[in-house]
């Protein structure tokens, strides 16, 4: 589903990703961990088409499509979703109508009929239960005045409504209280299927107790220096990253 080969990305001449490889297949959950500033969000942004990054080498294919040549909205319509580390506020734009517009753009792209207001409301009510979000937040402008945790839940609600093929969750667990964490993870688990895939970026192995990954990767200084199973996350929790980084350096 997602195939990244030797991806090298820089920002303002500064190399951030330095030859990254990753293969994600349908039905899989991949966790990406790594120290601050190692390039995790950069990877998420480049994959979803944010401007300001220069791809210097390598490739990224999604469902066989050359991802890096696609406009960000087309990637989204093709089923890619990014849950933002810092969700953006959009004053005056109603949360519900925003989400309806987004869903209908995706449906149009797939050649499906657009949902009318009533059908959409039915869908959103159902998906709101997944994330136990307050209904009042639907009537407010997108993310405006939401608490940190509410913003994160709103990301998951959007994911639940848009039902992506490939979802990248950038530190969705940060800033969530323990109950919220369980709810968000529960939402992900309910959406999980044999057809879709998740890339979960996190600093905490705790999240991985709830969302059990098939693979854990460690990103350090723009490269994946180690991949393993969920046990790797436990080991990292105990020992930190230094030993891995040393190990990688001695190999290089």
């Amino acid at each position: 589903m997602l195939s990244i080969k030797n991806l090298q990305v820089s920002v303002e001449e500064k190399p951030i990703l330095k030859g990254l490889n990753l293969e994600v297949k349908p039905g899989e959950i991949h966790a990406i961990m790594g120290p601050n500033g190692s390039g995790k969000s950069t990877l998420a942004h480049v994959l979803s088409g944010r401007e300001g990054y220069s791809v210097d080498a390598g490739s990224a294919h999604y469902k066989g499509l050359n991802l890096l040549e696609m406009a960000p909205e087309i990637r989204a319509r093709e089923g890619m979703f990014l849950a933002f580390q810092y969700p953006i506020e959009i004053p005056g734009v109603n949360n519900t109508s925003f989400l309806k517009k987004a869903l209908n753009e995706i449906r149009k792209h797939r050649g499906e009929e657009e949902l009318d207001a009533i059908d959409f409301l039915g869908l959103i009510k159902k998906q709101m239960k997944l994330v136990e979000m307050k209904e009042e937040l639907l009537k407010r402008p997108v993310n405006q005045g939401f608490s940190g945790g509410e913003k994160k839940r709103n990301e998951i609600l959007q994911m639940a409504v848009l039902n992506p093929m490939l979802a990248i969750l950038d530190e969705t667990d940060s800033g969530l209280d323990i109950d919220a964490l369980r709810i968000v993870a529960g939402g992900v688990n309910k959406l999980r299927s044999a057809e879709n895939a998740f890339v979960v970026i996190t600093h905490y192995q705790r999240l991985l107790d709830y969302i059990v990954p098939d693979f854990v990767h460690v990103l350090s200084d723009g490269q994946i220096i180690k991949s393993g199973t969920k046990e790797l996350a436990l080991e990292l929790e105990e020992r930190g990253y230094d030993w891995l980084i040393e190990e990688a350096e001695s190999k290089a």
Binding site: S48, G49, R50, E51, G52, A71, P72, E73, R75, A76, R77, F81, L82, F84, P87, I88, E89, I90, P91, G92, V93, N94, F98, L99, K101, A102, L103, E105, I106, H109, P141, Q158, L162
Partner: protein, 497 residues
């Protein structure tokens, strides 16, 4: 605030013209067509330039009664003594008034069919969802006059007639209801008002006249059904709306489709009069040709719009969505004379590329317990400049006057400008006046966020802008609001990313 600014400042508020109206008037000027009358276009051409003779000829052509001719002449003589004002914030080449035609010069070399029309313009119609049959008219294609909507218009005219509502071209009103015209014309915007209004008074081509009798609530939005007629109109439009005691009317002016016109200068006048317990809602969506991306061409829009809340408990609200013109200069205003009267001003002014807009309002509180509300939303993109200028004046006799003003600016990109000039003249200590202002930017983060949810950049900007201007759009009649929001996206095309 510098001195220059003060020159245009509402201190000389009687000198402030409002040019938006011109556009409207032009739109409405094709009324012959609206009502199923076909104008005879084969008029002899008047020479260029302006003198008393031309004024008399215009009046004679329209078979006007003596009082109108005299009024026009007084205006003309006054105009001759005036100098064109200089607007420090606006930059434009001077208009040569001796080189203009002052009597309907019908278009001769318009495109013969849509095939000859600028494809860019057609693409815009497509995006705005302008019905096919309207596109030809809006693009200035020479169409033979008879169109389906003629019969529609006639039907509505009958319905309005039953209620005693008069809605007709002002030229017709001058002939058929001279007593009403004589009683009200020039009472809110006198012919001495300002350079452009004075010129308009002397040479106005046509425009709308509306009279709502006492106690009648006009059952439809006036003019929305006649949008199609908005294309070919004179450059000096004149509109007069009178709401008699206890009546209500909502009037729509303009059109979301981009309007082209060979006349560069537009100087319209709109006068509104609300008597006791009457309410007038006047909405404008204005999208005159703004010139190309380099700022060449485009309409200069100098309009004088003013409403008089003459009676107690009367109310006038102006709602405007301005996206067009190279230069827009207009200050729809309310004179709150009746006790407990209310004035409202809701405005979205969008400028892109090299457009310049200087717009705002004046709320003049004369009566007791008068209230005014100002919601102004400026949007600047490209290299444009957008200025809000507002005056709130509370007369010494206006006990317990209240005003709330909110003036926001939204910037798209970093080469545009937004300026806010609020002026206050408070002569009564019981007045309560509040002013709030904010400036914000459309960020790349916001656009990316919406992109990532499958929404195109164009739609994203449209959504952000519509969200920002929501309070104003909510004031528009539903069908207009939808079009106006689409217009936002189209007008901002290419301004981001």
């Amino acid at each position: 605030m510098n001195d220059e600014t003060n020159k245009i400042a509402p201190n000389n508020d009687e000198n402030i013209a409002m040019s938006d109206e011109q556009q409207t008037i032009q739109n409405i000027t094709d009324q012959d067509y609206k009502y199923g009358f076909v104008t005879d276009i084969e008029m002899e051409e008047f020479p260029k330039g302006l003198d008393e003779n031309i004024v008399r000829m215009i009046s004679a052509k329209k078979e006007e009664p003596e009082f109108m001719t005299e009024w026009r002449l007084k205006a003309y003589r006054h105009w001759r003594k005036q100098k064109e004002p200089k607007w420090p914030k606006l930059k434009y080449s001077e208009v040569d008034y001796e080189n203009l035609y002052y009597y309907a010069a019908p278009k001769k070399d318009g495109p013969k069919s849509l095939d000859e029309v600028d494809p860019e313009l057609l693409a815009t119609f497509e995006k705005l969802g302008v019905p096919l049959e309207e596109r030809e008219l809006l693009a200035g294609v020479a169409v033979d006059a008879v169109i389906d909507s003629v019969s529609v218009a006639t039907t509505f005219k009958g319905k309005l007639g039953e209620l005693g509502i008069i809605f007709c071209p002002i030229s017709e009103a001058i002939q058929e209801h001279p007593e009403l015209v004589k009683k009200y014309l020039g009472t809110v915007v006198p012919y001495t008002d300002n350079f452009y209004a004075t010129l308009n008074s002397a040479v106005f081509s046509d425009g709308s006249f509306v009279y709502i009798p006492p106690g009648v609530r006009c059952p439809m939005e006036l003019s929305s059904y006649f949008r199609i007629n908005a294309s070919k109109t004179g450059q000096f439009e004149r509109t007069l709306i009178v709401a008699d005691k206890g009546s209500y009317v909502s009037y729509l002016e303009g059109c979301t489709a981009p309007m082209r016109d060979e006349n560069q200068l537009h100087a319209a006048v709109v006068e509104l009069i609300a008597l006791d317990d009457a309410e007038i809602k006047y909405s404008t969506v204005q999208n005159w040709y703004a010139g190309n991306k380099e700022g060449v061409g485009g309409i200069f829009n100098f309009v004088t719009k003013r409403g008089l809340c003459g009676g107690k408990n009367s109310k006038i609200s102006w709602t405007q969505v301005e996206t067009g013109s190279a230069i827009t200069w207009k200050y729809p205003s309310c004179i709150l004379k009746g006790d407990n009267s209310i004035g409202e001003f809701y405005s979205v002014a969008l400028t892109n590329n090299y457009q310049q807009a200087d717009t705002g309002t004046k709320m003049i509180h004369l009566g007791k317990n008068t209230r005014s509300l100002i919601i102004s939303k400026g949007i600047s993109a490209g290299k444009s400049n957008n200025a809000y200028r507002g005056l709130v004046k509370v007369n010494s006799k206006a006990e317990n006057a209240r005003n709330y003003s909110q003036c926001d600016s939204l910037l798209i990109g970093d080469q545009c400008g937004a300026h806010t000039y609020p002026y206050l003249e408070i002569e009564n200590p019981t007045a309560q006046v509040e002013h709030e202002a904010t400036t914000s930017k459309v960020s790349e983060d916001q656009i990316f966020y919406l992109n990532q949810r499958g929404i195109s950049t164009e739609d994203a900007v449209g959504m952000i802008v519509s969200g920002y201007a929501k309070e104003v759009f909510q004031q528009l009649p539903m069908e207009f609001a939808v079009e106006a929001q689409a217009l936002m996206s189209v007008s901002l095309e290419g301004s981001v990313g």
